[in-house]
Amino acid sequence: MTAMLSTDTPTTEPILRMTGISKTFPGVKALSDVALDLRPGHVTALIGENGAGKSTLVKILTGIYQPDGGSIQIDGREVTLPTAEAAQDLGITAIHQETVLFDELTVAENIYIGHAPRNRYGLIDWAAMHARAAAILHGIDAPISTRARLKDLSIAQRHLVAIARALSIDARIVIMDEPTAALSYKEVEELFLIIDRLKKAGKAILFISHKFEEVWQICEYFAVFRDGRQVGAGRLDEVSHNDLVKLMVGRDVTQAFPKLDAEIGEVVLKVDGYCHPTEFDQVSLELRRGEILGLYGLVGAGRSEVCQALFGVTRPSAGSVTLNGRPIAVRSPSDAIDAGIVYVPEERGRHGAITAMSIVANISLPSLKVTSRRNFLRMAEEFALARQYAERLDLRAASLSQPVGTLSGGNQQKVVIGKWLATLPKVIILDEPTKGIDIGSKAAVHAFMSQLAVEGLAVIMVSSEIPEILGMSDRVIVMREGRMAGLFERQGLTPEALVRAATGNKEAAA
């Protein structure tokens, strides 16, 4: 056993040292000559804009991509990581940005795929596997049955499974690529407790996040990437928040939540007594022209489910929806789109992007009726449409005909948002719109959203990020366990009030 390392030692020797790492994709230099050190018992934050090359570095460290050049040393010894297995054997584990899990397998199988515990005949020891998986899930306070099929879990639960999977590998180097993106503050706190534990156990942790508060809360070291280069690294206590932002973006970022005063008009969407057999009950809301209605709650509170029902993906069991005073029956997404209601789903990989198709084809997909004439598609129109939204959303891509699958995570998210805005809806429902989007672009998305509200769009914004909810919403509805737990006006709304409504206090529940 190595001795416990004090987290205060200012000069811990790095376990992992990467130098001169480069990686080129066709047409893009994703990484050029970057360096990174990871120290035992410490968390190093890796920050950078969307497409800066963070995930590419993670994939190199986990043996998924091979670097074009550079060296990787572990404990001072030069290593190569030709396969994912090799990386795992060297004690490197990662929670990837796009979680790669198996829908048809159980939670325990997902956690232990590739390294299932064996009995003495070399066969899989199912009892041990379930017991250990349950122990890990318990450790991260995730109440998920190890026998549940992955396809039956919510996005946040899947994410927790991905975290459990990373923890199930006894590793010395733990990489987390935007682990908090899908989580609400409660799960985030749990995750931070785990990170603390890992730190105390002497693991070296690489933490990637676009949320600076988190970085300041748990990291000691930082490295900043910009356009595939490392533009700064060091101890976090020696820099300020603004220093980091400037390093990352190359300029000052103006106001975080650029909310404009929109004129709030008449009621556009009215939902009354909306129920679903399992997911939500008696939800009623009114949404006005020019309004941004925040929908806050813990993960699993039923917010996304309400939105999916409004969009016609699932069927409610009771309740009515009126749009501009007329009752509407939405039976499918195409009904919703025709009525002028669109939904930007949370999980871009599964619901949002068609990765083999180009950026243009993705953005124009729900707008083909508009861009085509007499049933014939017009490429020039599609390009014009795509370019317009790509520019407004600050999309970073080598070309508009690039397949979406080759974009960075945050840029894929921008494509998905752009695709829905391009349909010029009356009501837009944004589910975690800035998940995985960097600070600079986040401001761009917020500004755009605000601008659209001014132009008369009605917006429902589901978010688990309290600052975003407080900064952007005119009114906030809080949901808890499928029911409405509060309706708040923007004026005088505090984070505490939101959290109290979302968790429910004990006396009321009794």
Binding site: R350, I354, A361, L365, S401, Q402
Partner: protein, 329 residues
């Protein structure tokens, strides 16, 4: 240098190259093979495969498969041949419309079962493949319809030369143009790609993926129906085992042409070249004097090679790169 490499990364260019190499090799021993006349003959010979492979590719793009196309050819071909035999006065136009309608109906049955009953396409079409052939047997009682039982116009249409090419070749060319328009210039074509590329995202984008698959099957069936007539007319005979195993050739042409078997990726150009590649081999091997059994083994080896190339292409993701002349952002 870089442009050459990126050009080579494209399946179409690779196939053109492969076809050329093949032609050069064959011509080295049999110069007569590459005369324009013979090449036009090869194209004419491959026209039916091209048409049906294009229909098949629409289905595969939506992440389904149609195993019943060859049986469709047999049943439709038998039906029109018998009609022609029993009612020689019936105008050819009517027979062709019957072939189209019947093929469409058979395709619609497949599509309907896949759409409404949610049965996997491979199961549905494996079933209908047997049923269609069974019906062809029931209809004919196992008897053949031979050339002398068919009317002259019925036999002559595909062979009629128009502007230097037989009608059969023109049908193939027309199919290519229509497919290119459908795949790249219409909402339905885009829906094929979206449905196979990410079905859930397609649903969210307002695409009815069930209907899209249904239409892909209808398309594939209609083309097969037309080919049913073309086939019995060209070979001047109709019997139950007509086009036996031909469904595999259509799938092979798609796979060789770079259509991803998991849906969402593929081009008309690739499919046509894939079909031509198979066509050249089929026509050349007998010339070189290789036995039919070797021909089957060679075709099989080529299919496996193509699948391997596809799989590698998917891994490096370089194959689907759309970087032609870029419009700057």
């Amino acid at each position: 240098m870089n442009t050459i490499r990126s050009l080579l990364a494209r399946r179409e260019a690779l196939l053109v190259l492969a076809c050329l190499i093949l032609l050069v090799a064959i011509t080295a021993r049999f110069p007569a093979f590459s005369t324009p006349r013979n090449l036009a003959g090869v194209f004419n010979d491959t026209s039916i495969l091209i048409m049906m492979a294009l229909g098949q590719s629409a289905v595969i793009l939506t992440k389904s498969i149609d195993l019943s196309v060859a049986a469709n050819v047999a049943l439709t071909g038998m039906t029109v041949a018998m009609l022609n035999h029993l009612a020689p006065g019936l105008p050819l136009v009517v027979l062709i419309l019957v072939a189209l309608a019947m093929g469409m109906l058979l395709g619609a049955i497949n599509g309907f079962l896949v759409w409404w009953l949610d049965i996997p396409a491979i199961v549905v079409t494996l079933g209908t493949m047997t049923i269609f052939r069974g019906l062809a047997f029931v209809l004919s009682g196992g008897a053949w319809v031979n050339a002398h039982e068919m009317s002259r116009p019925f036999l002559e249409l595909p062979r009629t030369v128009l502007l230097g090419l037989p009608v059969l070749s023109w049908a193939g060319l027309l199919a290519i143009v229509l497919a290119a328009l459908l795949f790249t210039r219409t909402g339905l074509g885009r829906a094929f790609y979206a449905t196979g590329g990410n079905a859930v995202a397609a649903v969210y984008a307002g695409i009815d993926i069930g209907k899209t698959r249904f239409l892909a099957f209808v398309l594939s069936g209609t083309v097969a129906g037309l080919c049913g007539y073309l086939w019995v007319s060209r070979y001047a005979v109709a019997y139950v085992d007509v086009a036996s195993g031909f469904e595999l050739d259509t799938i092979a042409a798609c796979v060789i042409g770079g259509v991803s078997t998991i849906g969402g990726v593929g081009t008309v150009g690739g499919v046509v070249l894939g079909a031509l590649f198979l066509g050249i081999i089929k026509n050349a091997l007998p010339v070189i004097g290789i036995s039919p059994f070797w021909q089957m083994a060679i075709s099989g080896a080529i299919i496996i090679t193509a699948v391997v190339i596809n799989a590698r292409g998917e891994r490096v993701k370089g194959r689907i790169i759309l970087r032609r002349k870029e419009l700057p952002l």
